[in-house]
Amino acid sequence: MSVDAESTQPILQSYVGFDSITSQIEKKLLKRGFQFNVMVVGQSGLGKSTLINTIFASHLIDSKGRTQPDEPTRQTVEIHSFTETVVERGVKLRLNIVDTPGYGDQVNNENCWEPIIKYIKDQHSSFLRKELTAMRDRFIQDTRIHCCLFFISPTGHSLKPIDIVVLKKLTEVVNVVPVIAKSDSLTIEERIAFKHRIKEEMAFHNIKLYPYESDEDDEQDAALNESIQDLIPFAVVGSEKTIVVDGKTVRGRQNRWGVINVENENHCEFIHLRNFLTRTHLQDLIETTSLIHYESFRSKQLLALKENGQQQQQQHH
């Protein structure tokens, strides 16, 4: 917001009360509820469903892993969308979780990312169509993916060729947050080295991850974003089971050699990821999807439509 150098802000003689607009907005928004669409992408067995359930502290989705011997292996990537409404202190959050079972699980994974990219674009497309309709809904239901959690296998070496290809394509159309799954199989040194390698590789391939830098950020935002960018990819461990540690009930995993406390920052970065997604950047994820990814899709589509129209006109002449 720019302030005219010449004019000075008028001083209010008495309390007007327009500052209550924030609570007016809040009241309306609370009534309407919020919508958050998150997609998980990664090979089966990396703990995707468990992590979602851990982040939102409830059993929202079931693992799509193959558990019966007579169950055939999936031959294509499927898109499974699941909606559930969670409420916290009167705030309604409509959560839409999009799972992508079959990704990276075949012997030949050529083009396994195409159904995923198509799905993301289809949501933009459907939103655009609804926007452009003459008689459109007052509030268009938002199915656009606000965040894509990309699961990296904890090999400890580097990204796989397929990861690089898919990350490049995903970051062009959606906010991508990479996580190192099942990071309890990496020692701290291995984790640090692995993260360093991954960051180098992403920088080399110019892969743009969320959060993006913005001129609008103030010092505080910029500092927070920088600390997030330092942490990415988040080394996480998920668990729906609880264990008692020092008298406290925490979510964790019990082994013969110790107990992993998911909520302990010395054990893994789950808390950082959870806070990032829900407590600090939830609104920003939704907004950047609209302001950056959707806008870019929209302008490309409209330009294409315009060129199409012009070509047709020329043909008529």
Partner: protein
């Protein structure tokens, strides 16, 4: 079928045994670390930190044998470990299976042609692979497509022992469930793995107990570690986590010790015998009867057809054997001819000498 090691065989003890083990699995499952842990030495060099520019390049699978001399309780073992870096790392992994299969069959081909020679090389090195450790990812679900495909395709040529890599990412409950599901999967797809066979009627109780215990551990839960850490004052090979230390040599933590003993002490003889007496023989029969065309007429009567096919196969095999016989005869004749020519030369030389004198 398994024989306990014969202690009194001095000659073999001095000479030592030879054993070849192949290790297959996607990168990052602890394959290389396992090899080094098994040999207690850095046999396979640690993966160099490639440049970040290399991450997206699909290099394809490589087959790398390493030989190391081990001493197991006074018994010398010449262990060859064949590593297969690059398996499963590409976007399309169809090619990997063929590479490995080709390598295994190549070793069989070498033996086959060596056996058929008239003059055999006494120092011929037998490079046949006696066992394949296949590393399964610790997903906690069950087998992936690539796991099933690999084991199906390679089991006719080699003893496959499935193992779980990086098994410390599973809790004891998860591990037990996972093992059960993997074995159910293997049974369902009828994959013939090496499952420590025994005959409850023929074998003694000790053998039956030993083998059924090992069978119950399948797939073996593995952890690899080359570094030592200190736990309660003692030095152990293990991985230090913020929540505790996983010890490689602790049978409560993983199955490494049991597998190592089976591979290098109790069961390598059995693995070698199966490779030679069964797997190699099958390959040999298939290969020798492969070149003749298989004419399958569409006659009625399944039984007739079945017995006729068998007859045909017998004839084929007979024909093949006859071919080999003929070839051997030919080579014998050639050698005889050679000898005769040389004799003639020698005689003429002698005659010349006499003349000169």
């Amino acid at each position: 079928m398994s024989h306990p090691r014969r202690p009194g065989n001095r000659k073999n003890v001095k000479k030592g045994f030879q054993f070849t083990l192949m290790v297959v699995g996607a990168s990052g499952l602890g394959r290389t670390t396992f090899i080094n842990t098994l040999c207690d030495a850095e046999v396979v060099p640690k993966r160099e930190c490639d440049e970040p520019e290399m991450a997206h390049i699909e290099e394809g699978i490589k087959i790398k044998p390493y030989t190391v001399e081990l001493d197991e309780d006074g018994v010398k073992i010449s262990l060859t470990v064949v590593d297969t870096p690059g398996f499963g790392d590409m976007i399309d992994n169809e090619y990997c299976f063929q590479e490995i299969l080709g390598y295994l069959e190549q070793q069989y081909d070498d033996i086959l042609s060596e056996e058929s020679r008239i003059k055999r090389n006494r120092r011929f090195r037998d490079n046949r692979v006696h066992a394949l450790l296949y590393f399964i990812a610790p997903t906690g679900h069950s087998l992936r497509e690539i796991d099933i495909e690999l084991m199906k395709r390679l089991s006719p040529r080699i003893n496959i022992i499935p193992v779980i890599g990086k098994s410390d990412s599973l809790t004891p409950g998860e591990l037990a469930d996972f093992k059960k599901r993997v074995m159910e999967d293997i049974a369902h797809h009828k994959i013939p793995i090496y499952n420590f066979p025994y005959d409850p009627e023929e074998d003694d109780d000790e053998t039956v107990e030993e083998n059924s215990e090992l069978r119950s551990l399948l797939p073996f839960a593995l952890i690899g570690c080359e570094e030592e850490v200190t736990v309660n004052g003692r030095k152990v090979r293990g991985r230090q986590y913020p929540w505790g230390v996983v010890e490689v040599d602790n049978p409560q933590h993983c199955d490494f010790v049991k597998l190592r003993y089976a591979l290098l002490s109790s069961h390598f003889q059995d693995l070698k015998e199966i490779t030679h007496d069964y797997l190699y023989e099958n390959y040999r029969t298939e290969k020798l009867s492969r070149s003749t065309d298989s004419a399958s007429d569409n006659d009625s009567g399944e039984e007739d057809e079945h017995s006729r096919l068998k007859e045909e196969q017998f004839k084929k095999e007979e024909g093949k054997l006859k071919e080999i016989e003929d070839r051997v005869q030919r080579e014998l004749k050639e050698k005889q001819q050679e000898l005769w020519t040389k004799e003639q030369q020698l005689m003429s030389l002698e005659a010349n000498q006499v003349q000169v004198q």
